[in-house]
């Protein structure tokens, strides 16, 4: 069979609405995630962004990297700001004050702005059923303020407020399962995505807009600055996150879970961790129970996917 994959890049939109020249670090995963998300959304979109790296790298007054309408208000309210934009678009369209076509609403916030301080505003937006897509750019700590731990920091990671020490393994709690929290709102679409899988990523953004109602996307975003990893390894680390089972790619459509990438055999967790000095203090004995839990969760995801497929 002919291999069509070589032609696939030609299918991606060439337009760049997240313009070059922004101030992201080399190897920044979230800059790539945003670029892909805007390729998938197209121009007919309005964007809300939380305070954080994304806002800082893209909008030092009077410059902007945004080719689409964009707003930043503050840190914890992105779900609410986007709700207001959606409500306004709906009523202005109904009243004939803007052109009669759908304009998409897209919100970006980091993991701190989503799973910690922004959780309430996000929950409200999901519960009220606004027609919008909310993407969490998860780089697993408060990177913009200097790599402090968040509720999304993985167990064992050393950060500036969960430092590894003689009496500490680093982060000593397990990462909050935010996609499951979003899915518990019974919204039409929840997915995990990862810019190391760009076509899967863009497809999920498109799907999120096709579904009417709120959609939640959880985007894995490598952060060389916060993880102390080599900048040229960001894409590789992202792939390893999926291949080790740390960040599985799945989507939950109207309650049914589908796995989008099923490795034949999960790679050893150590191969993922050793690329990131935030884990360098962990011994094999430390890693073993973490790996065990990763595998257990992966198996339970597979079981859920199989059950949903059969149902």
């Amino acid at each position: 069979m002919q291999d069509f994959t070589v032609y696939v890049p030609n299918l991606a939109p060439k337009d760049e609405e997240f313009k070059p020249g922004h101030r992201a670090c080399q190897g920044c995963g979230l800059a790539l995630a945003v670029r892909l998300a805007l390729k998938a959304s197209g121009k007919d979109v309005v964007v809300a962004t939380a305070t954080g790296c994304l806002e800082i790298i893209s909008t030092p007054l009077p410059y902007t990297a945004w080719g689409v309408p964009w707003i930043h208000v503050c840190f914890e309210n992105t779900g609410a700001t986007a709700s207001g934009m959606e409500a306004a678009l709906k009523v202005l369209r109904r009243k004939g004050r803007i052109p009669d076509r759908k304009v998409k609403v897209l919100a970006f916030a980091g993991d701190g702005g989503t799973v910690d301080i922004g959780l309430q505003a996000l929950s409200g937006a999901l519960e009220r059923g606004h027609d919008l897509t909310y993407m969490c750019l998860d780089n697993e700590a408060y990177m913009n303020t200097g790599v402090q731990r968040s509720g999304s920091t993985p167990y064992g990671a050393s950060t500036t407020t969960s430092p590894a020490g003689t009496r500490s393994i680093g982060q000593h709690t397990w990462k909050k399962n935010m996609p499951a929290i979003a899915a518990a709102h019974d919204i039409p679409y929840v997915a995990t995505c990862n810019p190391s899988y760009p076509y899967d990523f863009m497809k999920k953004v498109e799907r999120s807009f096709e579904m009417e109602g709120p959609a939640y996307l959880h985007a894995y975003s490598a952060c060389p600055t916060g993880w102390h990893s080599a900048t040229e390894l960001s894409i590789h680390i992202g792939r390893m996150a999926v291949q080790t089972g740390v960040h599985p790619l799945y989507e939950i459509t109207n309650g049914k879970l589908t796995l989008n990438e099923v490795p034949e055999k999960l790679q050893p967790l150590k191969e993922y961790m050793k690329l990131q000095p935030r884990f360098r203090h962990l011994t094999d004995d430390d890693i073993a129970p973490i790996e065990e839990r990763v595998h257990r969760e992966w198996e339970s995801l597979k079981a859920r996917a199989a059950a949903d497929a059969g149902a």
């Binding site: 902007t64 309408p69 207001g84 009523v91």
Partner: protein
């Protein structure tokens, strides 16, 4: 407000109705054809938003009602909605205001013409649901235009004024309209309701200068580098001050249409009086009854009422107070360990350096809804004129507090 004698009946184009003031406020918001309402319940603001949600539910108002999960989100929804070009409304009180205060400051910095009715209520603790001005004074410097209503008619009228002013392209500022919780929100008053034709003449459809829409992309809320931050703030300050003549013009236009004229500083039997009360909000009504009685008894007492709190009407305040010997400011908020209640501090600053400036006495009254009655005004005036109030020794007196 200066108006023709109300007992004559409603002005042309009006219908007089007995109505809870909260419902009159909601009626005004409905007549403004507001597009988006976002609100979270808090006493004593609730009747306004309950009524609005009812109007939307019954199809009597073509708007999106967004029942948010907190006041922080209420103001955030308002920012998102207003930035997208919708005429936007919210209302809150007390704890709700301080929870949303982060976004309140951003709304004005982004020059979004959101209108908020604030049903004034004390701040915790201890917890209290009753009226005073500690909530609004906590965001005194938020950069919003701030007005105070004294009765139900004013609440109704000032709501139209708020949108008229906020959306004026020479202004573009959010406006906070204050009314005392319970004393106004929960009382039934006769309100002259305007025919819609008057409103349509007064308030044009909102045409945003910028809005979030793909047909003309804009970036809003970029962060301010130190090289530009000061200039951004200076612009904001100058724009707020420049709103002043437009605020007056919008009141004049309203008066010409309805017969009800408003001023930034209202005076009542104040001409030539040597002792003047200065009030904000609903106690101005009680004060005017007290002044009537005292003047009948030949006492030299008058009343000045501050309607416009921001931008502060310096010249009008000086004009109104300059001839008096004593100015008695009734503050409904405390500045703990400070130079007096917030209103008296500003009045003192305004009069500072004037030749023959009156002595300013500060009485903190009516905290958490405690009644301020006619005889309280009489007692305070007597204390001041008899020299019982210690001139120059007390920055402020917390009136009638039991030891």
């Amino acid at each position: 407000m200066t108006t023709s004698n109300k007992s004559d009946g409603p002005a042309p184009g009006h219908t007089r109705m007995g109505m809870e003031v909260s419902h009159a406020a909601a009626r005004a918001v409905q007549q403004c054809n507001v597009d988006v309402v976002a609100a979270y319940p808090i006493t004593p603001q609730t009747h306004i938003v309950e009524r609005l949600s009812e109007l939307v539910a019954n199809g009597e108002m073509n708007a999106e009602f967004v029942p948010v999960e907190s006041e922080h989100s209420a103001m955030s929804v308002c920012v998102g909605s207003s930035a997208t070009g919708a005429r936007t409304f919210t209302c809150t009180s007390s704890q709700g205001l301080i929870l949303m205060s982060e976004v309140v400051y951003i709304t004005s910095a982004m020059r979004l013409p959101v209108v908020m009715i604030l049903a004034n209520r004390s701040l915790s603790g201890p917890l209290s649901i009753w009226a005073d001005h500690s909530d609004v004074m906590s965001v005194r410097d938020c950069g919003w235009i701030q007005t105070f209503a004294e009765n139900g008619q004013e609440v109704y009228d000032l709501t139209f004024h708020a949108y008229k002013v906020a959306e004026n392209r020479d202004i573009l500022h959010p406006i906070m309209l204050n009314l005392d919780g319970f004393h106004l929100t929960h009382v039934v008053e006769p309100i002259d309701i305007c025919d819609q034709s008057i409103i349509d003449k007064y308030l044009p459809e909102y045409e945003p200068l910028f809005q979030l829409h793909p047909d003309k992309p804009v970036t809003m809320g970029a962060y301010g580098v130190p090289e530009l931050f000061t200039e951004a703030k200076k612009n904001q300050d100058e724009a707020l001050k420049a709103a002043y003549p437009h605020i007056l013009e919008a009141w004049k236009e309203w008066g010409d249409l309805t017969g009800r004229y408003y001023k930034p500083v209202e005076t009542y039997k104040a001409e030539g009086a040597k002792t003047l009360f200065l009030t904000m909000g609903s106690i101005g009504e009680t004060a005017s009854v007290a002044v009537d009685g005292m003047q009948e008894r030949g006492e030299d007492v008058g009343l000045v009422k501050l309607r416009l709190w921001r931008p502060f009407p310096f010249d009008e305040v000086r004009k109104a107070l300059a001839g008096a010997d004593n100015v008695i400011v009734l503050d409904r908020a405390l500045s703990f360990g400070g130079p007096g209640g917030p209103v008296s501090s500003e009045i003192r600053a305004t009069l500072y350096g004037l030749d023959h400036a009156p002595t300013v006495y500060d009485y903190v009254v009516g905290l958490a809804g405690r009644d301020v009655k006619v005889d309280d005004f009489e007692k305070i005036a007597n204390d001041v004129r008899s020299g019982k109030a210690r001139k120059g020794q007390d920055e402020y007196v917390i009136y009638a507090a039991r030891e």
